[in-house]
């Protein structure tokens, strides 16, 4: 299996009753994901988009064997929904919502770690392993199977980039949206480690932003002797200091938060860093051909 999800994953959608839940059920099924159950507490639906609906996660997971959850509930109830998914035995949980209090994200992350599970999110489109399955709502047509692993803090940017890669003939092993919030279920270092250990991934592309410090995890990884080739695009060079750029974590507070500091640290560590979207495909190609070269060398 690829990282986190493939055709064998059995998925439950928490909050399947809303518009987004319905759309996502159709969309994931169309991509080949096994959506086996939905949960909609407080609604008396039996079925949504052909998917059986249960009263709670325990019932849904025990009836269907689901072990992956995609959660569409508003931020105030998100922590509770994640805890419920974990208690029901889910090993991979995606929470796409934004506007989650950081403290709740911290609690989610801690609970997920305690249970040995993986949480993707908050504030993410989810994860896709092209040609296999997706757990999230990224536009499927942007992706194609391949060997480049993609990690992104931004949803929209990852669609744009995936589409460019696909158009340029560079397929993706998996694309993981780690999300735009400061505290993440799966953070950059952990996503990198997943892709590092994934035999389907030969090189990585990291899509970062100003703010936070997780790009330095990529720099540390790239400096390792056994690192796979890496490329990166860090956006936000035109953003002013002290202003939050949409994402909760995208804010330049000090020098290390800037695009320039991050790009420099990454270049020093050997990452192929794009200057902008214009040369994004180019750096991805560099990383991919470096990986081919390394394969030939060994």
């Amino acid at each position: 299996m690829s990282v986190l999800i493939d055709q064998s994953a059995r998925v439950v959608i928490q909050g399947i009753g809303g518009n987004f839940g319905r759309f996502s059920a159709r969309d994931m099924v169309a991509y080949g994901t096994q959506v086996v159950a939905g949960v909609a507490p407080g609604r008396n639906a039996r079925e949504v988009e052909g998917v059986p609906v249960f009263e709670d996660m325990r019932a849904a997971c025990s009836a269907t064997g689901a072990q992956a959850a995609l959660i569409y509930v508003p931020a105030p109830g998100a922590l509770d929904a994640v805890l419920e998914a974990l208690d029901a035995g889910c090993r991979v949980v995606v929470y796409p919502g934004d506007g989650l209090p950081v403290q709740d994200a911290i609690d989610m992350r801690a609970a997920t770690h305690r249970d040995g599970a993986v949480l993707i999110g908050p504030n993410t489109p989810g994860v896709i392993s092209p040609g296999k399955a997706k757990l999230g709502f990224m536009p499927s047509f942007c992706y194609m199977p391949g060997k480049l692993g993609v990690i992104s803090r931004s949803g929209s940017l990852s669609y744009e980039v995936a589409w460019r890669l696909t158009t340029a003939g560079i397929g993706q092993s998996s694309a993981i949206g780690i999300g735009g919030d400061p505290v993440k279920g799966l953070n950059a270092a952990e996503a990198i480690e997943l892709l590092h250990n994934d035999p389907d991934t030969e090189a990585m592309l990291y899509l970062g932003e100003i703010g936070g410090n997780e790009e330095y995890a990529l720099a540390r990884y790239a400096a390792r002797a056994d690192a796979k080739p890496t490329a990166a695009l860090i956006v936000g060079s035109a953003a002013p200091r002290g202003k939050k750029m949409g994402h909760a974590a995208a804010l330049v507070g000090s020098q290390v938060d800037t695009q320039a500091a991050k790009a420099e640290a990454l270049r020093k560590a050997g990452v192929h860093v794009a200057n902008s979207l214009r040369d994004l495909v180019l750096v991805a190609q560099h990383a991919m051909s470096q990986s081919e070269k390394e394969v030939l060398d060994t």
């Binding site: 105030p76 609690d107 936070g212 997780e214 002013p240 750029m245 949409g246 994402h247 200057n275 214009r278």
Partner: protein, 372 residues
């Protein structure tokens, strides 16, 4: 969002952390009711950093100096913000200034405690020592104490700092703060610690469980320029940047990527404007209304890559807006994503051109703005 020093100190004080006894004034003549002696510190209350270096804190040895200081501060701008209030406090002699803070750290997956043995405006010279611990229950006073031991020989001070750190953690979780920074934290002649400044950043996402945070958000919104205030009220994410190229975009990362491309091309983006939080006809109409009304904005770039958003629907909305719109500012479209093919057809019918790539749209916009 950051709250003023005064509000921050009230929160510290009500949670058992010592702060000076200060008064808030709204105009210089309120100084006359000050009864706590001189010298005093007169401090501009603004919600942005770097106030100390910008001359926002003045010392006054007597009433004349105090009134002059207040006058000066009320007339000054600090990072574009004019103080509405000043905080007046006794100017206290102290043995030493240190730095203590708690902040959210992405890599730690939660909170980190920060300490520097030399506080004050110089703290940025040397990065504070960091004790990352993540979830609140993982804070270990002995772990933090062990870190301090390497740089802080004074055992009694260390114990006081550790106790205060525990209290900061309690406060941060109680009020959903992302950052609480005490700098300087004064070591008084008797060894006790006193918070001479307070920088508290509240988690906007937690406003649903803190009326104080909602109120602060409302106040902060009102202080923004009208265009931004209206955008935020309309559930669009906007940051004003002051350039020539207006941007109607979707998604924070994509919006920044487009901003960067505009800047690379030698122009300045007028704004960060992310409509993905309200991708409706009303949302897009508002975006155009605001950008059309800004004289600095000479061209508008619409850059959207839709995932859940269906681009044919957006295209139809854009067609309607363009038909009704009175402004003649040129608009450059680059719309891609779900339903792209149908969107192209809709736009052709509406007489609009959809550029194939973001770069080509930006290049066209730049050429237009550069044309005299």
């Amino acid at each position: 969002m950051m709250i003023t020093e005064h509000k921050g100190k009230l929160l510290l004080g009500t949670h058992g952390i010592a702060v000076p006894h200060g008064s808030l004034i709204r105009e210089p003549n309120q100084l006359r009711s000050w009864r706590n002696g001189f010298p005093i510190a007169v401090k501009a209350q603004v919600s942005s950093g770097g106030r100390g270096r910008a001359g926002g804190v003045l010392r006054a040895a007597n009433m004349e100096e105090a009134e002059a200081a207040a006058q000066r501060l009320f007339e000054n701008d600090f990072s574009g913000e004019r103080p509405q209030t000043l905080l007046v406090e006794p100017w206290l002699d102290h043995a030493r200034e240190i730095y203590l803070g708690i902040t959210v750290d992405g890599m730690a997956g939660g909170y980190a405690m920060l300490y520097a043995p030399a506080g004050g405006v110089e703290v940025e010279q040397q990065a504070p020592l960091e004790y990352p611990f993540g979830a609140p229950r993982n804070f270990k006073a002995h772990g933090f104490r062990r870190l301090l031991a390497d740089i802080e020989q004074d055992c009694a001070l260390r114990e006081r700092v550790v106790a205060l750190a525990r209290r900061l953690l309690f406060l941060a979780t109680a009020i959903d703060a992302i950052t609480i920074e005490i700098n300087p934290l004064a070591v008084m002649p008797d060894g006790k610690l006193l918070a001479l400044d307070a920088k508290i950043v509240l988690d906007e996402a937690a406003a649903f469980r803190h009326a104080e945070t909602s109120d602060e958000l409302e106040r902060a919104r009102k202080k923004e320029r009208p265009a931004v205030a209206k955008a935020l009220a309309g559930n669009l994410m906007m940051v004003w940047l002051g350039g020539e190229v207006g941007l109607v975009s979707g998604g924070a990362g994509m919006t920044m990527a487009a901003m960067d491309l505009i800047a690379d091309a030698g122009l300045k983006p007028a704004c960060f404007l992310d409509c993905s939080s309200n991708p409706t006809p009303a949302g897009y109409q508002l975006a155009f209304k605001l950008l059309d009304a800004e004289p600095e904005v000479r061209a508008i770039l619409v850059s959207i890559f839709g995932g859940g958003t269906h681009m044919d629907r957006v295209a139809r909305v854009m067609g309607d807006i363009m038909k009704k719109r009175r402004s003649r500012k040129p608009v450059f479209f680059r719309m891609n994503g779900t339903g792209r093919d149908k969107a192209d057809a809709v736009m052709r019918e509406a007489g609009l051109y959809n550029y194939p790539t973001l770069e080509s749209a930006i290049d066209a916009a730049v050429a237009e703005v550069r044309t005299p």
